[in-house]
């Protein structure tokens, strides 16, 4: 036994350098992670505490104070989160039934419908907003028609923006939900019916809980980018009267060279979003847990 152990040890020692070579394959990735992912975050954090006066740098909390003592930022956060929340809810209300019905379509056609949902995403997002602007933006063909005939101004009341956000991000809601729905074992559903549940009960007790992780990742994938959008609010919504999106404010600050304030808001956003996705993950863990138990 001991000789076996010894030979095994020698074998391991001999082989030791080989996995090291494989490990070293990650070096370029480490470089990318260090210089282009970790360093930017550190710099953001650093800049957010620095006040630049001429060439002298001064340590300060002023950027955070300026950013959050004024109602300006809170208002803009409120506006961004309000629209993001509405858009996410509508995406969910349309996206869930869509994914559900899609999973019931003949398998022969599911692939192509999924492709039809994906395909518009390959047309540049800015190009699509450009198309929408001509329809719903200020002076757009539908917007003018509605103003003239119904005194309903989609550009000024924010409806155009909500439609635009839903239009752009709906696929991000549909796809994760659909992926979890088709993974559900039909036996679970049949078992529900055999035990006497009606279709509503089956959906409530079996289908929906099993697709919940898809719903959560859909919500994160829609909410985060909509809350920080720049292009859609710029063209589909009267932000000069309705309040700017947080992304637009960061854009304006950075373009004027106020890196400190821009960094402070960015850090705040990053922390907020980390908390949100951690919370989502927690729920998600319960979802996978219940899946595992069945």
């Amino acid at each position: 036994m001991s000789t076996f152990k010894k030979s095994l040890k020698r074998h391991v020692k001999l082989k030791f350098h080989k996995p090291d070579v494989v490990k070293s394959l990650a070096l370029p990735t480490l470089l990318v992670i260090l210089v282009l992912i970790v360093l930017p975050m550190l710099l953001l954090l650093g800049y957010s505490f620095i006040n630049k006066e001429g060439i002298a740098f001064k340590l300060t909390f002023n950027n955070y104070v300026v950013a959050f003592a004024t109602s300006y930022y809170w208002d803009s956060l409120f506006v961004s989160f309000k629209y993001a929340l509405i858009a996410t809810l509508i995406c969910l209300l349309i996206g869930y039934p869509f994914a559900y019905f899609l999973s019931k379509v003949h398998p022969r056609y599911q692939g192509i419908i999924l492709l039809l949902i994906n395909a518009p995403m390959w047309v540049n997002m800015t190009l699509r907003v450009f198309g929408l602007k001509a329809l719903l933006g200020n002076g757009g063909i539908i917007q003018q028609f509605l103003v003239e005939n119904f005194h309903f101004d989609v550009y000024n009341n924010g409806v155009a923006l909500v439609i635009g956000l839903v239009y752009i991000y709906l696929p991000f809601m549909i796809i994760p939900i659909y992926t979890t729905l088709i993974k559900i074992d039909p036996a679970h559903i049949e078992a529900g019916y055999d035990l006497g549940a009606n279709p509503f009960k089956v959906f409530q007790k079996i289908t929906f809980p099993l697709s919940f992780s898809g719903v959560l990742s859909g919500i994160t994938m829609v909410f985060l980018p909509t809350a920080t959008a720049i292009v859609a609010p710029h063209y589909l919504y009267n932000w000069s009267s309705g309040g700017q999106f947080i992304g637009q404010i960061i854009e304006a600050k950075v373009n004027k060279g106020y890196y400190g304030e821009g960094s402070a808001i960015s850090i705040f956003l990053a922390i907020l979003i980390t908390i949100m996705s951690l919370t989502a993950n927690k729920f998600d863990r319960y979802a996978t847990l219940s899946e595992g138990e069945e």
């Binding site: 490990k23 394959l25 360093l39 022969r108 192509i112 395909a119 540049n124 292009v231 960061i250």
Partner: protein
């Protein structure tokens, strides 16, 4: 559980309406790309003039070239780095690996604007002037994490002993990786590459911040030039070409799908 015909019909109508909703702005772009005048409100006649003007629009042509070349370079580089990175990381100790994987998740979770400003600060620190080079570096930095998170889970499902076996049989480590691991990862690598390409092709926010006003890709060109003057429909002509290209891909895929389905049915 049988569903009634009315339910079925309702489902199909619902699916069609939503798909139509996703395509209306695209139809609109296509139709007005053939407009004689530069109006987006009224068709005043049919013409190809925006198509011929498109090739004379140097700014647009530059933007298209920048977008495509940058997407190709960023895709190739980030796919190679990311694939090797995923393979290398899988051999790391659990703790350091988890920390590194969490770090790669930053750009995936963070809003683009946060990533963009972080990168801008890095380029300022090293005194690299915004331009094509910073655009490519930035695209590599946000594509690589997506490649890693696509390939790493697939890598974990593979039997790690195959690599050891190849090395025990005398293959050099690099040779073993290329001959044993890469072929098994082919479909994941392809998925990662197409995702990287789409993300780079579609990017606005990050390119906008890291290039300054020095060069444009299609998105920033639209944002900074076209949407301000709007009397220029050459962009619609370009979008139409892009849309036609995508429609062709969709049709080909549909035919392949149907054929596959038929042959499967015969087999069964």
């Amino acid at each position: 559980m049988k569903v009634s015909k009315t339910t079925k019909r309702f489902r199909i109508i619902f699916l069609s309406v939503i798909i139509l909703f996703l395509y209306i702005p695209l139809f609109y772009i296509v139709i007005f790309s053939f407009n004689k005048s530069s109006s987006l409100l009224k068709m005043s006649g049919f013409s190809f003039k925006w198509y011929s003007q498109m090739f004379d629009n140097d700014q647009l042509m530059d933007a298209i070239w920048n977008t495509i070349s940058c997407a190709i370079i960023a895709t190739v580089v980030s796919t190679i780095i990311g694939t090797l990175g995923a393979i290398g990381l899988s051999k790391y100790k659990k703790n350091s690996r988890n920390i590194l994987l969490a770090a790669t998740n930053f750009p995936v979770l963070n809003p683009d604007i946060v990533t963009a400003i972080g990168l801008l600060l890095v380029f300022l620190l090293f005194n690299i002037k915004g331009g094509y080079f910073t655009m490519i570096l930035a695209h590599i930095s946000f594509c690589t994490p997506f490649v890693i998170i696509t390939i790493y889970p697939k890598l974990k499902t593979l039997d790690s002993n195959t690599l050891e076996a190849a090395m025990d049989l005398g293959a050099k480590p690099l040779n073993a990786v290329v001959r044993v691991l890469i072929p098994q990862l082919k479909s994941a690598i392809f998925a990662a590459a197409s995702m990287a390409f789409t993300m780079s092709f579609d990017d606005f926010v990050i390119t906008y911040f890291v290039t300054g006003a020095s060069i444009n890709n299609i998105s920033t060109y639209l944002y900074t030039v076209v949407l301000r003057k709007t009397k220029d429909l050459t962009v619609n002509a370009f979008s139409t070409i892009l849309i036609i290209f995508i429609v062709i891909i969709v049709i080909i895929r549909f035919i392949i799908d149907q054929q596959k389905y038929k042959s499967k049915k015969i087999k069964n």
